[in-house]
Symmetry: D3
Subunit: 115 residues, 6 copies
């Protein structure tokens, strides 16, 4: 698995375009909702990103974790905040979360050093 | 399934006592961690409760959801905040989350009317 | 857990109403998609119901299984067709699916005898 | 949920009979395998029961847990052995396993007192 | 992860041979059932392949998805039919299914262009 | 995915160090528990390793499976014992476990030939 932020995003973008070009209504709307759900609401964006991160981590979806780590980083969340959220995910989800935690730490490091 | 807050808490307390009386070190420490993880840190208690709620909901653990709904309620989170967190869980976890969402709404209503 | 079709549907309807009254956009749209996804498309309704049933069964969501059993029954799918779909779910999802299979068989019987 | 051993077994037996009467080959063979997999092999029955118990607990299947608790009890496994196995399941599977652990402890107590 | 159909199948075949050479009865029979379950029955092969695909996708098993995409392709299912089935899986299983949907679209494209 | 035992362990060790350097109490304690849970108790180490292996396999965590395969190998468990445990995991967890079973067999072979 490549850890490069650019590569990850390029693949995501390329495949998302192909999926959306397919004009399947259900999938299109789910993609749309995904953008909407994490925008400012009664909860701020930072909190929502952490919610998305924890949901992704307990469900052990590496790509979803990467995505929320990147947006968390962009929103200005600190490493300590992200780590605290991930510690809750590890406790709730159990030690099977740990391999995903390793990859999450690795990706966060790349995000921090890549600018 | 009983929805009464008291009944739910009484069963939880009774069985937790029996489990802890058993003196299994691993389980005792996991119970301990559970208390620690949701105390004030770089993230505040409210945020942590929402993280616990979303993790519980996407993993479809009704009892865990109830527990975090009650602590969320005690911490003063509003219904709108809780509902927004749960909408993220429903999107990330899919429509199989909906039956648990129904029971969560029902339990929140009980929490609001029971004082 | 009540097995009565009416009770199950009444609870579902009551709680869905409360959830939708809440006006959370994300949840509303997910509910909407749920109706859309199972309407006639390049795949017919019967096939789609079986897909929903199998997805629900491998994810071990009893309420979702009940829902799709009822719509499968309304669409005129036979017990043999439903059972064959469920056998695939049991093979793919493993023996942990069996307790849900028991409840599914029980509910199908109720659906067949309740008219 | 009824905790009575007899009630649980009666429902299981009744529904298993109905499922098997249906003559679906795939399901019949899976039921058969289930009996075979836990018989004496290079691993003894006790070890296999504990494996089945831990698999059931991390996958959070209450009925499967009950079944393996009963067979573990019959095979003469002690409460300490069962508890130690369940502590591994709780660590690996996370705190979402705890509600199932409560019900497992409750059921074990019933098994111990019901003879 | 290699996307080449040949490489994927070669690895599958090589490891399946090693597993089956081991003569473990339970595993052998499960492999056998897997062949049986998707053969013509009261449901036709195409429908069964779609059921296998949706079950694999909601359980987020990339290799299982690839396998059912290939057999779906061989059975003559169209991209639209496969996409519609996958849209149901995405709705039921939530946005964590999306990374697997990307890889599924990529693999389908390879299947379509590889002959 | 690299199958080399050394590479796998080096990555694990490197990332574990970084995670633990972070001084997050919850995560540190979970790592600690992980060491404790698999030490000799009323159940011996071999049995515990098999329990960890089966839990990891039904939860489909390849890295966790590799880890427990390596410790099982060190503890002197035979291939037949490991295979029998994994057959229970495959039956309980379903055919979606099979791709992980392939990788487990491959890794075991590497463990056996690498000394």
């Amino acid at each position: 698995m490549s850890n490069s932020v650019e590569e990850f995003n390029a693949y995501r973008a390329k495949m998302n375009d192909k999926i959306l070009a397919d004009n399947n209504k259900i999938i299109k709307r789910i993609f749309n909702l995904d953008t909407n759900a994490f925008s400012e609401g009664v909860l701020d964006k930072k909190t929502k990103e952490l919610l998305g991160l924890v949901a992704s981590l307990v469900l052990r979806c590496d790509d979803c974790v990467k995505y929320h780590l990147e947006t968390s980083h962009k929103e200005g969340l600190s490493k300590d905040q992200v780590a605290e959220a991930m510690s809750i995910a590890t406790l709730v989800g159990g030690t099977i979360v740990i391999p995903h935690l390793r990859r999450a730490y690795e990706y966060w490091e790349i995000l921090e050093t890549s600018r």
